[in-house]
Amino acid sequence: MAMLIVVIVALAVGTYALRLAGVLLRDRLALPPSVARLLPLAAVALLAALAATAALTDAGEWAGVARPVGVLAGVVAAWCRLPFVAAVVIAAATAAGLRLLGVP
């Protein structure tokens, strides 16, 4: 019980500190404009990496076929300028449908 509380508090405080640190640091740091312009790019790189690892891998292994194909279908839909909601639903439906057909 005590251990569980320690884990939850440590995870919560640590995560919040990481979130707040970036926001507060941005004010304190006098970044040259060339570096400041890289910050949104950094977020894009992180989000792209997050999406790519989540799409292709699962717990350090390849994620099978259904998930990557589903993600690809969603991205193609978004690329063709279908609404965001449609892209997300197409991704989920494709992956779920492939699994129904027995695709891993």
């Binding site: 509380i5 320690v6 884990v7 939850i8 508090v9 440590a10 995870l11 919560a12 640590g14 995560t15 919040y16 990481l18 979130r19 707040l20 640190a21 970036g22 926001v23 507060l24 640091l25 941005r26 004010d27 060339s34 312009r37 949104p40 790019l41 950094a42 977020a43 894009v44 790189a45 992180l46 989000l47 792209a48 990496a49 997050l50 999406a51 790519a52 690892t53 989540a54 799409a55 292709l56 891998t57 699962d58 717990a59 350090g60 259904a66 998930r67 589903g70 993600v71 969603g74 991205v75 839909a77 978004a78 609404p83 965001f84 909601v85 997300v88 991704a91 989920a92 992956a95 449908g97």
Partner: protein, 228 residues
């Protein structure tokens, strides 16, 4: 904060609502999985409110079930380390009163950052950030609550393709920026490094390694200048 709401339009609200609904379903499965792994209901519900970072919550539940509380903390924090550069990138959204900066920081998740960055008009970024953060906070926690109550109704998010929905949503939000060749190069290098790293490194580290993608932009200062 009030003035931001006026910048929200129907499309944005609809898009955020869709993602919030999906997050609610994942929250539902988180609640069910956490209860099934033997955690008490109060711990599961509290975790969703105070941590509010899905990946690290799933990891913590797994590590606790495996009897490794230290790994639950360290692994979770490594997974959440990306929020520091996120904060640097969206700090301009959280200007103003201390209350809104403190609350806004807790709402910093992949989706709120992605929705904020997807806005071409800087004035709309704050509205998108807050709307996404608050909506997903509500549905994530309602989902957790339902999952805890109902138990194993939805224990596997993959059955509904939700595991494909989230990467697709992030990529769809990034797409407008990826149309720019310089940004695309940074994202591709970052994604490739992260995917390769996933097979050798503990969870969380590969995504952070994606920052080496920035070297592509640094080496070409003209490109860095052209990004907003």
């Amino acid at each position: 904060m009030g003035r931001f709401w006026r910048t929200l339009d129907r499309t944005l609200i609809r898009d955020v609502a869709a993602l919030a609904a999906a997050a609610g379903l994942v929250g539902l499965s988180f609640g069910a999985i956490a209860i099934a792994s033997g955690l008490p209901a109060w711990a599961v519900i509290t975790m969703s409110v105070v941590v509010f970072a899905g990946g690290s919550q799933f990891m913590a539940v797994g590590m606790l079930a495996a009897g490794s509380p230290v790994a639950a903390i360290l692994g979770g924090l490594l997974l959440n380390a990306r929020h520091l550069p996120f904060g640097l990138a969206v700090a301009d959204v959280l200007v103003g009163a201390w209350g809104s900066r403190l609350a806004g920081s807790h709402l910093m998740i992949d989706e709120s950052v992605a929705f904020a960055l997807a806005q071409s008009d800087p004035r709309r970024r704050a509205g998108a950030y807050w709307l996404t953060g608050i909506s997903l906070f509500v549905t994530w926690n309602l989902g957790t609550l339902l999952g805890v109550t109902l138990g194993g109704v939805v224990d596997d998010p993959a059955r509904f393709g939700l595991d494909a929905a989230f990467p697709a949503a992030l990529l769809a939000l990034l797409l407008p920026r990826l149309r720019e060749a310089s940004v695309r190069r940074v994202a591709l290098v970052g994604a490739a490094v992260a995917v390769a790293g996933t097979f050798y490194l503990p969870a969380g580290l590969p995504v952070l390694l994606a920052l080496v993608g920035l070297l592509v932009a640094v080496r070409q200062p003209a490109l860095a200048e052209s990004t907003p």
